[in-house]
């Protein structure tokens, strides 16, 4: 005892030693936070700033760009005597379609997961086959589906031929069907993703509760709805989060399958940003930044909800 007090008084601990417990987590977080700040937070602010300029992305924004205040937003929304940007409206509306229809991946994934959650010979193989579309790149998915949809001779047009109808111009060539065609392609990997989330979720389902429910006479739909689904709530939440975010960043498929066409009818906001800035005939960085800000705001609504839900969850777990 005395020895230890001695050594304590002989060498007073440094500032770091005294605050070690408080500081260490921050030290470990620091690299991550620094990168997040430099590569995520700072560009978001830059986008806000850029959206107030008329700038073609060449040279320096201060010398080659002109500050125009909220003019870009006026153009987007048709305020202040400007004509509303029709392409922006199309993109926004398509994003809504994506958000709603992409959510189908959740029930589909759940259904497949329930179906695959059994013990038969070779089930691992079946599971991996169902999971396969999530592993391959979105670009490949897009290409495969665009061949599938090809008019005259594509598998899909042959299949619709059996029922005696043809989609004029092919699924992707017809502005009324093109977006739905792309969403269907997107659902393929997304369903696989949701399936895997649910499969892991199903592993965690408490067998005793299932047993108890069975003794009480629950089966079939009732068992699913009142016993299994409540236990899958965490999986559902994650599936919801990744699906919503996936729907909002649906860029690859649009770019690969239609390039925004036919005549711009399959644009979504993220693709419109690319089109206005980085694409071959882009050169409107300020305007693209304004679209990006709008997309960010939409995402922010969902992200705030997710964070709020998670926060509530944590608080619930603690108390």
């Amino acid at each position: 005892m005395t020895i230890s007090t001695d050594s304590y008084s002989q060498s007073p601990r440094g500032w770091y030693k005294r605050n070690e417990i408080a500081i260490t987590p921050w030290l470990f977080l620091a690299p991550g936070m620094a990168f997040f700040a430099v590569y995520v937070i700072w560009p978001i602010w830059q986008s806000f700033g850029m959206s107030l300029y008329d700038w073609n992305g060449l040279g320096d924004i201060d010398t080659n760009g002109t500050y125009i205040g909220l003019e870009n937003y006026n153009k987007l929304f048709g305020l202040n005597g400007e004509r509303a940007d029709r392409n922006f409206q199309i993109s926004l509306w398509n994003n809504v379609k994506w958000l709603v229809l992409y959510l189908l991946a959740i029930p589909l994934g759940l259904f497949i997961a329930l179906f695959l959650n059994q013990n038969v010979r070779g089930i691992r193989l079946y599971k991996s086959l169902f999971f396969f579309p999530f592993v391959i790149s979105q670009v490949v998915v897009g290409l495969v589906f665009s061949w599938f949809y090809l008019p005259n001779g594509g598998l899909f047009s042959i299949m619709t031929g059996w029922f005696g109808f043809q989609i004029q111009g092919g699924v992707l060539g017809n502005p009324t069907t093109a977006t739905y065609g792309i969403i269907a392609a997107g659902l393929w990997p997304q369903t696989a993703y949701c399936m895997i989330l649910y499969l892991t979720g199903l592993n965690a389902v408490d067998p005793e509760q299932v047993e108890a429910a069975r003794l009480d006479g629950a089966k079939g739909r009732k068992m699913l709805w009142y016993v299994i689904l409540p236990q899958l709530k965490p999986a559902t939440f994650i599936a919801f989060v990744v699906t919503i975010i996936g729907a909002l960043r649906s860029f690859d498929l649009v770019s690969v399958m239609t390039g925004g066409g036919p005549f711009g009818s399959t644009r979504v906001l993220s693709f419109y940003v690319f089109e206005k800035s980085l694409s071959e005939r882009g050169l409107q960085y300020g305007y693209a930044a304004a679209v990006a800000v709008v997309l960010f705001m939409i995402m922010l609504v969902f992200i705030s909800y997710f964070l709020w839900a998670m926060y509530k969850d944590e608080k619930g777990a603690r108390s």
Binding site: L58, G173, F263, R281, L283
Partner: protein
């Protein structure tokens, strides 16, 4: 120094003025010359590498480094490398496509190369490389546009090359009656529809009107533009174009011509190579100039020009300038544009054109039968935003011709925004 002068004086006497000037230049070029090129297809790539090698041989002290970037990727990368990591020489396109880079001060003024004789030899494209009286690049190749058609099909139905709109329509009707589409086209990437608009508008309203329109000086809702679209509509209503073209790119539309499902294709001369590869012989394939529509209007032609530029941030501008002079020289242009290489037209008037029948016809057409003027192409003549909106509108019009009023109003709104 004196000894160099002496030797060069000796050479002067022995070999004449030109050779010694070359020699003196060759000795002075040192360091590295870095070239970024978008000539990524096999044939152009070989041409670029060969040009660099020949230039390197002429200047042994100079280390010539060529970086070849995929043609499509190049279009988006150029804006980054011009400011971040500029090479000494870079490929690009003439007219409005280079304008944003000139305005941002990223391309060097190369008017000195154009001084004197060069301006005469390259006169046909000088305008397309001039901004505010100064030149910002040099051309290395261009190619004609026009109708490439299946001669054997025409003969089978007793048709001949048309020269008026009525003949064109009559030919087309005969083909349609025999179950053959008149024109192959794939509008998935939009620009092919821009070619049709260019020609219909230049023939309906003349080159000057077309130039004013792409320059933003004419209204898209004007009667002239409507007349152009009315002519276009005649073809669409006849069913002259292949179906579902909005789902195809231009290569995917080629089999229609090869298999005889479509008789002709309005396209640039680069269409000849894949058609030949697909098995069409020169007896089956031929070319004619886009027909006259409004009688008496001097015909203008599309002939897109590909170019070399010196970025303002280049390190070795002296060597770069020498390379540009080398590129435009008559001998080099003859060589790189011949049938074994690019298979296109040399810009230099002193060059000779390959014996290839399409190149001969194209050269004759551009030199003697295009008094209206030479346009670059819709997406090079019009500013980027206008071109994007325009070509999207053309594609929509080709699928839904009834939307015309809406399309034109949109284009007019874009025009008032852009210019």
């Amino acid at each position: 120094m004196r000894s160099i002068l002496k030797t060069s004086f000796a050479a002067f006497v022995a070999a004449g003025i030109a050779a010694s000037a070359m020699q003196a230049n060759a000795q002075s070029l040192t360091g590295t010359l870095s070239i970024f090129s978008d000539m990524s297809d096999p044939a152009p790539r070989a041409v670029m590498e060969d040009m660099a090698a020949r230039f390197g041989e002429m200047h042994p002290e100079l280390d010539v480094q060529v970086t070849i970037i995929d043609r499509e990727a190049y279009k988006t990368q150029i804006r980054n490398f011009l400011s971040a990591n500029p090479p000494d020489v870079a490929n690009w396109y003439a007219a409005n496509r280079m304008l944003p880079y000139v305005e941002a001060g990223l391309f060097d003024d190369v008017s000195d190369i154009w001084e004197g004789q060069m301006s005469e030899e390259l006169a046909s494209t000088k305008g397309a490389l001039t901004v505010d009286g100064a030149q910002y690049g040099v051309p290395y190749t261009y190619y004609q546009w026009g109708i490439y058609y299946r001669k054997d099909l025409f003969e089978q139905f007793g048709l001949s090359e048309p020269s008026t709109w009525e003949e064109e329509l009559a030919n087309c009707q005969t083909l349609l009656d025999n179950g053959i589409k008149c024109y192959a086209i794939g509008t998935r990437f939009l620009w092919t529809a821009g070619g049709w608009f260019d020609y219909l508008n230049m023939r309906t309203n003349g080159y000057d009107f077309h130039a004013r329109l792409t320059n933003g000086e004419e209204s898209w809702t004007s009667d002239e533009v409507r007349a152009t679209f009315a002519n276009w509509r005649t073809l669409i209503d006849m069913g002259a174009f292949i179906d579902d073209h909005q789902s195809l790119d231009w290569q995917e539309a080629l089999p229609f011509v090869v298999n005889g499902q479509a008789a002709s294709y309005l396209m640039g001369n680069f269409v000849v190579a894949p058609l030949r590869e697909a098995g069409l012989t020169d007896d089956q394939l031929d070319f004619y100039q886009f027909v006259e529509i409004t009688p008496g209007i001097p015909r203008g032609e599309d002939a897109p020009t590909d170019t070399f530029h010196i970025p303002s941030g280049a390190q070795n501008k002296e060597a770069a300038r020498e390379f540009l002079r080398f590129v435009v020289s008559a001998d080099n242009q003859t060589l790189i544009n011949n049938g074994q290489n690019l298979g296109q037209l040399p810009v230099n008037a002193m060059s000779s054109v390959d014996d290839d029948k399409f190149l001969q016809q194209g050269f004759d057409m551009l030199s003697n039968r295009a008094p209206g003027g030479i346009a670059q192409f819709f997406d090079r003549d019009a500013p980027a935003e206008m071109a994007a909106a325009g070509m999207e509108g053309f594609q929509e019009f080709m699928v839904f011709p009834d939307n015309l009023d809406d399309i034109l109003e949109r284009l007019e709104a874009t025009r008032q925004d852009v210019y």
